[in-house]
Amino acid sequence: METVPLAYPAIWLAEPSLFSVVRDLCDDLDVVPVHESQSFSYDAPLVAGESYDFSVTVSREETPPRLTMVATVATSDGETCARVETMLRLVPRAGFGSVS
């Protein structure tokens, strides 16, 4: 059984259809997301070639300003096998040049 690297689900978070939510919000707020922390927690390893459901919840905190993305990875039978949390600090765009 070939398993998937622990950090691989980060690639799914970068999918344009998902990350566009963050990008649009940051554009509206005129801030830049800076990766503050990342975690991966597994109940079972992900298997290469299998299909999984990947669902993401995004929440925003005001103080300090940040976004938290919590994703769950589940089998097609609905069994959760991993949880992924991404914390993005929101930094004013001023001084960040053209970063987006």
Partner: protein
Amino acid sequence: MSGDIKVGDTIPETVIGPFDAPSLARYAEVSGDANPLHLDDAVAAAIGFPAPPVHGMKLLAAFEPMLRAWRDDLIISSLAGRFVQPILRGDTVRLSGRVLRATDDEIFVRLTAYGAARAPGIIGEATLRPKVGA
């Protein structure tokens, strides 16, 4: 079995990098993280970095092979890290770990990644468990 692992045990240091601009560009392409902060010297300079920082995820992911090389009789059930300060393109990166808690069922390890700066770039943690049947 993990019974031979004790609090304070250290994981052999792993050295990776230095990463050059083509390496960061390849990572951006495959990961989908094309933030120009990691790729564009001018953007990095605009916020005071002498070189673009390496993607934090690229470095955090590098702990997995280090942990697997340490103990292949354990599985890694969690991996986490805080990106404390940037590790810059061109830095040699030193990954290390130390056991903070150890029981027969679970090993908790503190992880650190250092670039050229005195302070760590990443402070992380991992939880490992014995493989079933190991």
